[in-house]
Each structure stands twice: as structure tokens, then as C-alpha cells.
Subunit: 413 residues, 2 copies
């Protein structure tokens, strides 16, 4: 079963917005064995949308369309699909009620633009939009299906996972594609490749992609099989062979992130953590608290950006900063120890460094970061250089700090 | 002058990689007056690539192709364009020399795969690739042009800015396209539309798009003109008319973010800020410290996730939390006041709420957030409901908190 993904919006054509919807939809379709043959993007004009609808519909069994379903004048997708399928708009009572409830929950009066969104093409089935006012649409004809979804990513994602995939999965179950991504951090791509050795021997028919990012290198295994159990078995074997070679660098798989993995470990071990951040500026606390249930182990964070706050909030001695500077082993160790003591947690974690672009010196260039950890076994700090680019330095430093805690919990060096 | 952007690669079709090349290329083409009419993406198979080359070439004066120029077996774009333009590969001495120099600089031996990259289609002009081994290609026929570039983003970007744009700009200088995006927050899309009133009157020939996100609604003005000054003038007029209607909700323009705008205001007014976060978990501190130079005004942040940390770090009275709960007006005001006092800053900002998915009650459902602010004029807290979805609640709460500071600084209610 082949699919065409059509994304609609002038904001995409002028390069204002990076198209993340395509990748999300493709990944989900792939997961149920639907191959994406083509993706296309057109602007908010009737001719362009009609032409693209025709191309998608004629070339693929499944067309997924996003964008242009909102309440304002530049949203023309609903009218375009009406024209394409020779149908007209009729009021839908269920959608109207849903919109009314949403507006009430948000303490907003129902206005005309919102009411207009309860008009639905006569020959379409409605795809519920649990978190927004624009309903999705599904058209089925002659063995082909078109799904029309809002372009707002979080609404689209809810509707893909809640309606589109459950609807398509039973129809698509003929070939099986399996992907498995192994997440590593703390090792560069070329060294990882060297440690993995001969790939043909490692893979035996599966394929492997190396995907580097500031958070680490992801290894993607892809297997095509005739049955789920055959494909899953091959994936498992390849994964085991990879793990046997580079396990120390692997912190998770697929969509996991390090904060989720670490959070699970802390919860299982009933350990608590507190964080004292300087150069990461709150990013570590933000990442830890992105995980639902993190209040069970995350006690507090402090973002001690000024020297006064390092002394006042944490009690880092002024002479430590005076003698060694705020970016030093001594400062990082003192911060980690102090936040652990005052928060009465099992673990104290700290960062202090130079995120740039200003503030670098020859002996402490931009990108220099000390990461400190204090736990029952003692206190230590490690020095890193994360290169240039403020956002990238923050991202890489937060990743290395979380990874330091993970390794410490596993007694990895 | 119209363009088609064609991106090639299986990694895009399976959703492993988000396509950032499209947006970059589109933005650059737009900047010199080239309209992008369509974007498409196909995988690494000869039929798909040939079909997509034909579609692009026939529909647009300019086609920009990226991907599939590398040295490995799955890179088929060079062969596809040879077939498409009925030409063959010939060795190119200049490219061969460049590859040799690059390999030497990296202390790598020149291997067969690299040497193969110095073969170039006979009827193409070479586009130099200063930082990689795969040369770009340019085909010109019957008033149409095709550029073929590597898919590696930093190589592609170098070649767009170094060769493609300088080549196209003089040919495209007939029409001028100008975009201007006005950033609003704190008002829903349909209400914004209602306040703007009759769009034809407002726009007078320009076009306007509404782009909603968790951070607010962006309004994008687009103007096509014959000269830069004509187009710029029209953009300015439309922007002024929009500002006269909804100025209170506008915090910035184009690529600015609220933390950058607010940081500039704080720096200009020589004011300092400290933040006490509960439900936003460090995100406000992270956003404020993303701005280069933020250490001039951001003094500290505390992430008081536990009740003990609210009392211990900030001195929020236990009886305040006992009587009103941690998610209350009283707690938010107490946190804002306390962090301002202990940090000795001009402004104290606080958040306390329920990010979910757990922790909601009938009277305080998930999404309930109190935002507190303390400054010279006094202390107050406002209640919001940001709906469901942990990441979205954090994002929307951080945006509303920063916006509260901005409005306070401008004496907006």
C-alpha cells in the first residue's frame, strides 16, 4: 500500500516554517507497513491545491493532506476537497457541539468563524479533533482513501494516532517494514563506526544508517520482512550484535530521550535529584520536568547565573570563585555538593561553563563546560569542550550532564 | 519567475529526517524574487527520480534538486540527470584536483569512490562545492535552469549562497516579493480576525496569512511589487494599519522571539529579573538564557518543584501552601515577591500550576496555571487555563509569563 503526503501552506513555500508534519506522518505510515512514495507541498491557491489533490489521489492508494482547514480566509482546503469530490458543505451537529464545549472550556464566546467550522463536506466522514475546532475529513472511493487533517502539528498528531493509523492499520497488513533506532551519546560517528567493525557481517541483510545530532549518534536498523515475527526477529538479532559491541554508549531506543530513560531509573531506584545550572540556564531542569511524573524524583533546580546567586543560593564560597573562577572544577564540585545538601537529595548535578558567543578566553574558550556530580559516593567534576553556538553548547552540555548521572547510576566509568 | 524544489532521499520518505533543506532553499529563492510554486520529495529509485525531474522541469523556470549525489550505491541522482538530459559522464580535471586537496587536508587517502565523484555530466556546468567532495551541477536549456546540489545541509547552504543565488539574482530581478510577519500572543485566531475587521480594506492588494502556534498567532503580510521601494512601502502601510487595530497583542516581528524582545527591553531599561518556576520547570530560565548577553539582566532562577523547595529556597510560608495549595494566587504572589527580594532584582516572576497529565482536580484541572509578578509597583498574579498536553502547557505558560512582564514594562493592562 502506497501513500502520498500533501502539505498545504504558503508559509512552507516561502521557507518560513520547516515542514515537520511530513516526517511525522511518514514515520507513522511506515510503522504499519504503508510505504510513502512521494511528498508534495503547494500553496494556498485553489488551482495548486486541486492539481495536487489530483496527483496524490491518482498516484497512491492513500493520500494524507494537512493544512488549510482553519477558520480564516486563507484556509481553502475544505472548499478544494468539496470541489474535487463534487460535494457540498452541510452542518454537522456533533462537530458544532464539540466546538461549543471547547470554546466554553476556554471561556470564549462562540463566534461566527468558529461556527463555520462545523460545516462538513456531505460525502466525508468526520475525523474527530479532540483538541481543536477544525474537524478532519475522510473520503473513501473505489478502494482509495484521502485523509484531510489540520496543519497545526499537535492537532494533526493527535488525529493521526487517534484515528488515521487505527483506521489504516488493518487495511495495510501485507508487507512488514520494521525500523529500530538505537540511541548513543558520548562517542563520535567515526569512532562508533570503527567499534562496530564489518557492517555486512553485523547486519546480514538488514540496513543501518548513522544519524549524528548534537545529542549523540542514532543508529537506525531497517528490515523488510514477510511477517511481523520474521522482521522483528531480524531486528532483535542485529540490535543484540550492535549492543554487544557498543553497549556502554547506548542510553535508549527509538523515540526515547535521555531524560525519560534517566527518570525511569531514578524512579525505580527511588532516588531524588536536584540541579544547579549556570551555562545550561535551566535547560536540564526543563528537560527533567518534561517527563510526566518527574515530581517524584526532581526536587528542585537553581539557575545561578550571577556569581552572587552562586554564593547566596548555594553557598559556593566567594574565595572559590575568586581563586579558580566560576568556570572551574572547584566551582562545579562546590555547586553539585551544595545543591545536594540544601535540597537533601540523593544526587546533586551542576554545570558551569561558557555558552558564548562572548566570554571566552584563550585558556577557557567558548564551549568550555565543567559538569559536577555529588552523590553518596562522593563528588567529582569533568571538563568538556562543546564547540561553538550557544544553543548547541547548551544542548550538548545538558545531554552530557544527564548522561553522567545515567553512567554513575550504572557504575559505568 | 517560478521554482520547483525537489528533495531526494529515502530517509525523508520514512520520516527519519525532517526536511530542512526545502525551507532554506525556499527562503533564499524568495529573497531574490523567485516564487516557489511547489516542493516535492521522492526516494532513491530511478523511476521516481526521473518522474519528479520531469514534473519539476516542465512546471517551473527553475528547478532546484538536492540529494543523492554522494559516493555510495544509493546515490543515483547524477545518473538520473544524465538520462534525463540525454548526456554522459566525463572526467573533470578541476573537480578531481579539488577532491584530492580536500582529502589531503583531512589526512585521508584518495579512494576509488572519491575519484568517481570527479565524473561530471558532459552538458552540465559545475557548481563548486568548497567544503565537500560532491560537485553541484547546473543545466540550462530553452530558458529553463536546473540546479543539482548535495543533500548534506551545510554543503547545500554554501553552494546556494555561493553560487546558485548569485547566478539567479540578475535573471530574477523583475518582480519583488516582500514578507513581513507580525507576532501576536494572548489572543485566539478567530478573535484576532474579528478585531482586524474587513480584510480587503485592511490589505488593499497585499495578502495576509494567520499562523497559529502554542506561542501565539503570527500574521504574515505578503506583497508583490515591481520595485523594492514600492513593495516595502506597501508592507509598511499594511503593518501600520494592523498595528493600529491590535497593537496591544503584538510583541515582535519576523524571526524574533519573545525572550529576545523582552531581553532587549530589560537591557535598555537597565532592569534585572529573577524567576521562580514550578510547573514550567526551568523553561522560562532556559528561554531567557538562550539570548546572548542575558547575564546582564537575568540574575537567577529557581525551579521549586517540591513544596519543601518553595519554603526552603524562597521562604513561601508553609501556611500559605497549607491554606490555599501550591497552585494558588497566594502561592504565585509569594513566590514572585520572594525571588525578587532574595535576588535583589527589579522584577520577580513566578509560575505554579498543573502541567499534567496527572494532578488535576475538578476545581484545578490540568492546565490551570497561576503566573505571578512582583516589581516596584507591587505584586499580582493572574490565572490561566492552557488546556492539556504537558509540553504545550509548559510552552504556553512560559509564553504568557514572559508576555506578562513585557506588558508590565509597557504599562499595558
Amino acid at each position: 500500500m502506497n501513500a502520498h503526503i500533501l502539505t498545504i501552506g504558503d508559509e512552507l513555500l516561502i521557507g518560513q516554517v520547516i515542514n515537520t508534519n511530513q516526517a511525522f506522518i511518514a514515520e507513522r505510515l511506515n510503522s504499519i507497513g504503508v510505504d510513502v512514495a512521494c511528498m508534495s507541498t503547494v500553496g494556498d491557491t485553489m488551482d495548486a491545491v486541486l492539481g495536487a489533490l489530483r496527483t496524490g489521489w491518482e498516484s497512491s492508494a492513500v493520500t494524507v493532506v494537512t493544512g488549510g482547514l482553519g477558520p480564516t480566509h486563507d484556509d481553502i482546503t475544505r472548499n478544494a476537497v468539496c470541489t474535487f469530490f463534487h460535494t457540498d458543505l452541510v452542518p454537522n451537529e456533533e462537530v458544532r457541539r464539540h466546538i461549543g464545549e471547547l470554546m466554553k472550556k476556554r471561556n470564549l464566546p462562540t463566534n461566527a468563524a468558529a461556527a463555520d467550522q462545523s460545516l462538513v463536506p456531505r460525502s466525508a466522514d468526520v475525523i474527530p479533533n479532540p483538541i481543536g475546532t477544525a474537524p478532519g475529513l475522510r473520503f473513501s472511493r473505489e478502494g482509495r482513501i484521502m485523509f484531510v487533517l489540520p496543519g497545526v502539528p499537535y492537532e494533526m498528531k493527535e488525529m493521526m494516532d487517534g484515528s488515521v493509523i487505527p483506521f489504516l492499520a488493518p487495511l495495510a497488513a501485507e508487507q512488514v517494514i520494521r525500523h529500530r533506532t538505537i540511541l548513543t551519546t558520548g562517542i563520535a560517528e567515526s569512532f562508533l563506526a570503527a567499534q562496530l567493525g564489518d557492517l555486512d557481517q553485523l547486519l546480514g541483510g538488514a540496513s543501518l544508517a548513522f544519524l549524528p545530532s548534537p545529542s549523540g549518534v542514532r543508529l537506525r536498523i531497517t528490515v523488510h520482512g514477510r511477517t511481523p515475527s520474521e522482521a522483528d526477529g531480524t531486528v532483535r538479532e542485529v540490535e543484540e550484535r550492535i549492543r554487544s559491541k557498543v553497549s556502554r554508549y547506548i542510553y535508549g531506543t527509538d523515540d526515547e530521550d535521555l531524560e525519560t530513560v534517566l527518570g525511569r531509573m531514578l524512579a525505580e531506584k527511588k532516588l531524588t535529584i536536584a540541579v544547579a545550572e549556570s551555562c545550561t540556564g535551566g535547560l536540564i531542569a526543563h528537560r527533567l520536568t518534561n517527563v510526566p511524573g518527574s515530581s517524584a524524583y526532581f526536587e528542585r533546580g537553581v539557575v545561578t547565573y550571577s556569581d552572587a546567586s552562586k554564593t547566596g543560593l548555594l553557598g559556593v564560597p566567594e574565595q572559590t570563585i575568586g581563586a579558580h573562577g566560576a568556570v572551574s572544577r572547584e566551582a562545579a564540585e562546590s555547586m553539585a555538593l551544595a545543591v545536594r545538601t540544601t535540597a537533601r537529595t540523593d544526587i546533586g548535578l551542576s554545570t558551569t561553563g561558557i555558552a558564548g558567543p562572548a566570554g571566552g578566553t584563550p585558556s577557557k574558550p567558548v564551549g568550555t563546560v565543567w559538569i559536577g556530580i555529588a552523590d553518596r559516593a562522593g563528588t567529582l567534576a569533568l571538563k568538556f569542550n562543546f564547540g561553538e553556538g550557544r544553543a548547541r553548547v547548551k544542548e550538548r552540555a545538558s545531554q552530557a550532564a544527564l548522561e553522567l548521572v545515567r553512567r554513575r547510576l550504572l557504575n559505568l566509568e
